[in-house]
Structure formats: structure tokens, C-alpha cells
Symmetry: C2
Subunit: 274 residues, 2 copies
């Protein structure tokens, strides 16, 4: 089996946890690959020779950078991103028909961002969603799929709309919930409460170490989905609150949650055994 | 240092995860200790010779069993429990002045209950809250403290009222939230969403594997605290929902959550280094 990289030279704009990990994972798989890392605010002349350009800044910054890509990139370059929402950036890319933009989102990372936490195995076995536009050449999509598979990830192709709805539920809503819960627990219990907390609180609020900035971009670009998702969660919590004496909602919600939790463990277990 | 157990014989009523783990941890520390394990619905004659009686069934079952204790226990026996709320059972015990009841709550365990998951190290370094009544002889409290310290736990003495308020925030609220979130995510995203979920969802919903039964008892016996706690959380989530475009609540809530999360890690880190 050949180990030629699908792109001889790639450029990564925005070198945080994800951008840094792409560099490390690409070098692990293809030691000869040439990777240009460019800070999000820097001059883009370094992308000139790249066959693949990866935008790895926060969502709104990626959209601003995208507008400057045609002036610097090779005409046949494929452009992708790693942002957490896809409808907005795909729509922005559609305004530049000369650009071959394929939205991307690796479902990997961690609460701690920054290049210092980058690792070459962050993507191993993890889904990497790609959202090509209808007019795209299948060959470009196949090349990008082979690139992300080389990083260790499992490519999933879907529409930007489906991505934003599913990821809004399985990633954005848990993030907002973990931060809201940690805030509420801190206000209610203070340091004396944290002193006696068990591992349940620590697990449930692990995501609460995420800083606000990238999540503001996510909220703005997935507002409709998140409004609906928060409504469903708030309604569920209000039902629990209103039937604490009878346990009616506890019975229904916990039974449903146990079933979905088992399904989640099944889905993750299946992935752990390739 | 002597290794005589503070009680030569103990009886544990309700042999699930916590009751089973108490047995294992006690035998680890004091191989000579005599432990009688009694199922929650069984005849209580086995408690007769015990110096310590531990009620480890769900909260309301413990309260029912408590009423039958004076008929079977030695007059000088100390009675404790391991339930997740303390005001209700302490009030019930106060109705039997002959009983030396000291409420207890080990802040340990896991989402998976049952004796099959019992381990001898479940309590190591974990807080074990004791809620003595004002009239208690200090000697009885000291003996129970030395027992739970022998199991590996760190005794914390507080009132039943403070216990229920703090634990409502750091344990009961996260449990209700994790189950509500898993239910909402399942409804919103279905199996297709779980298929692409990252580890954030798995961590945030680990507690959602808890079955409804013991949590109905917790809700009934800590209703006022949980109603207030759920109100604070619902208000926080509603603020997030109503300012998705401006990011105003994201800025405030995430900043607060980051600070409390760091405090939680500090508290847990301090405990990990005895």
C-alpha cells in the first residue's frame, strides 16, 4: 500500500488544539508531508503552494479568512475548515463559486484548547464530518476523505443542515448545559459544597472548563437549533421540578435517559472495536 | 497502633453497592470484624448482637426499617445510614429517643449500583458526612468517625439541613441534569446523533445510567432544595437561550463556570494529596 499523502503540501490557518493536532497526525501518517502553520491573523501568502487549506480558527474568524483565500490560494486548492457549525460557512463559501470548499468538523478535541494540548492521536477512531456542496466534484471529496482517514478519523458525509441539527444536540447543548450547571452549583453550594463533591459532579461539568469565546460564535451561527434544544431541556427540567413529590417525571425521564445512555455506550463501544 | 475495630460486630441492612463496599472495606481494615449482611426486606433478628447498625437501602426504605430497629437492636447499639438525604431520616429517628441514630452519607459510589460493583476502595479519600443530633454523646460520634475513617473515608460533621442543601446542589442537581440532558439529546438527535457524539456527551451524561427508583426517594425528601436548585439552573439556561445572538449570557455564565470548575479541580486535587 502506497503511503503518498493525498496532498503534498497543506496549510493550516489557526494553530490551536485542532490545527496543531492535524499537523502532528499528518506527520505521523505521512512523514514527508509539508505543513505550513499560519496564525489566524497573519498574512496568508504562505497558503500559495498548498493543495489543501484547513481553516482552524473559531467559526466567524474562519468565515472572514475564507473571503481572503481566493486572492492567495492555488486555483485547484481544496479548502476545508474544522468549525463547530456548518450552515453559515458553507453559505459564505457558495458566494465564491471558484472556491472548492468542503466544510469539515472533527468530533474530537477536549475542554482544554491551545496548541500546547495538541496530540497526534486526537482523531483516532473519531468521526470527522464533511459537508460537500451539491456541485462538488466527487474526486475532491474523496481526496479529503482519504486525508482525514489518514489522520485516524472516520469520515461521515452529510448536509450542513443535518450537521448543525445533530451536533447542536450532541455537542453544543451538552456544552451549554455543563457550563450552566457548574455556574448554578457554584452559586448554590460555594466552596463548602465543592469540598464534599463526588466524581459525578466532576464528570458532569468537565466541559465547563471551556472558555466563552468560541462558544459565542457557535451560538450565533446555530441559534435556531440551540433555541429549540434549550427549550426541550428546560421543559424536561421544569417537568422534574413540578413533580418532585410524585416522581412522575423522574420515572419517565430517567427511564428514557437510561435507554439513550445505553445506546450511546453501544455506539461508542462499536467504534472502539473497528 | 492498635488495629482493633471500633465495633466487633456490625450489621448492614441493604447490601447493594454501598453496603457491599462497606463490608469489603471493613474486612480490608479489620480482618477480624464480624459483618452481618441483611437484605432490606428480611427479618431483622440478625442485628441483635451488633454494636453498629448501618441502613443502606434507599432513603424511604431506611426510614421504614428504622422504626423496627428498637425491637431488635442491643440498647447501646449505634445506628447510622448511608442515604442521600438527611433531614427526613434524622427527624424520624428523633421520634425514638432511646435510639442512638447518627445520620451518615458517604460521597462515593457510581452510576452502577448493586453488590456486584462493590469494591474495598470505594471510600478511599472520599468525604463521609455525619449528621449527629444535638443531644448525642460525643463518644458515639467519635466512634463512628473512627469507623468511617477506617474504611478510608474522610469524616465531615454537619447539620442535616446543611447536608441537604449542599448535597442537593453538588450531587442531586447534577444527577437530575445529566438524566434530563440525555433524555433531551436522545429525543433531539436519535441514534444518528449518538453515532457522531464526542467524549463530551459521554462524560456529561455518565450519571444518566442511574435508574429512577432511588432518585424518587431523594426528590421526595429534598423537594424544597431541589425546587430552588432547578429554578436557578432553568433560569441560567433560559438566559443562555434568550441571548444566543449577543452572547451576553454565554460570556457571564461560561466565565463563572470556568472559575467554579477550577475551584472544583483545586478541591479534588487537594484531596488527592493527603
Amino acid at each position: 500500500m502506497s503511503n503518498d499523502p493525498p496532498f503534498r503540501r497543506i496549510a493550516i490557518v489557526g494553530v490551536g488544539l485542532i490545527g496543531g493536532s492535524i499537523t502532528l497526525a499528518a506527520k505521523r501518517k505521512w512523514p514527508s508531508i509539508d505543513v505550513a502553520g499560519i496564525e489566524a491573523g497573519d498574512d496568508l501568502s504562505g497558503i500559495a503552494g498548498a493543495g489543501l487549506i484547513v481553516l482552524s480558527a473559531p467559526v466567524l474568524a474562519n468565515i472572514r479568512i475564507l473571503e481572503q483565500i481566493p486572492a492567495h490560494a492555488a486555483p485547484d486548492a481544496i479548502v476545508t475548515d474544522t468549525g463547530s457549525t456548518k450552515r453559515r460557512i458553507v453559505a459564505a463559501a457558495a458566494a465564491s463559486p471558484a472556491l472548492t470548499f468542503i466544510g469539515g468538523h472533527p468530533m474530537a478535541g477536549g475542554a482544554r484548547g491551545g496548541a500546547a494540548h495538541a496530540r497526534d492521536d486526537v482523531f483516532d477512531g473519531r468521526p470527522w464530518i464533511l459537508t460537500p456542496q451539491p456541485g462538488h466534484a466527487a474526486a475532491a471529496v474523496a481526496r479529503l476523505e482519504s486525508f482525514v482517514a489518514g489522520l485516524g478519523a472516520v469520515p461521515h458525509v452529510m448536509t450542513p443542515e443535518l450537521h448543525d441539527r445533530l451536533v447542536g444536540a450532541v455537542s453544543h447543548l451538552p456544552q451549554l448545559t455543563a457550563s450552566a450547571l457548574m455556574h448554578a452549583v457554584g452559586r448554590l453550594a460555594g466552596d463548602a459544597g465543592l469540598e464534599i463533591a463526588g466524581s459525578g459532579l466532576a464528570d458532569t461539568t468537565r466541559l465547563a472548563a471551556s472558555p466563552p469565546d468560541i462558544w459565542k460564535d457557535v451560538a450565533v451561527t446555530n441559534e435556531d437549533v440551540l433555541r429549540d434544544a434549550l427549550d426541550v431541556l428546560i421543559k424536561t427540567l421544569a417537568d422534574l421540578r413540578d413533580t418532585l413529590q410524585t416522581g412522575e417525571a423522574i420515572e419517565a425521564v430517567f427511564t428514557s435517559a437510561c435507554r439513550w445512555r445505553a445506546a450511546l455506550e453501544g455506539a461508542r463501544g462499536a467504534k472502539a472495536t473497528p
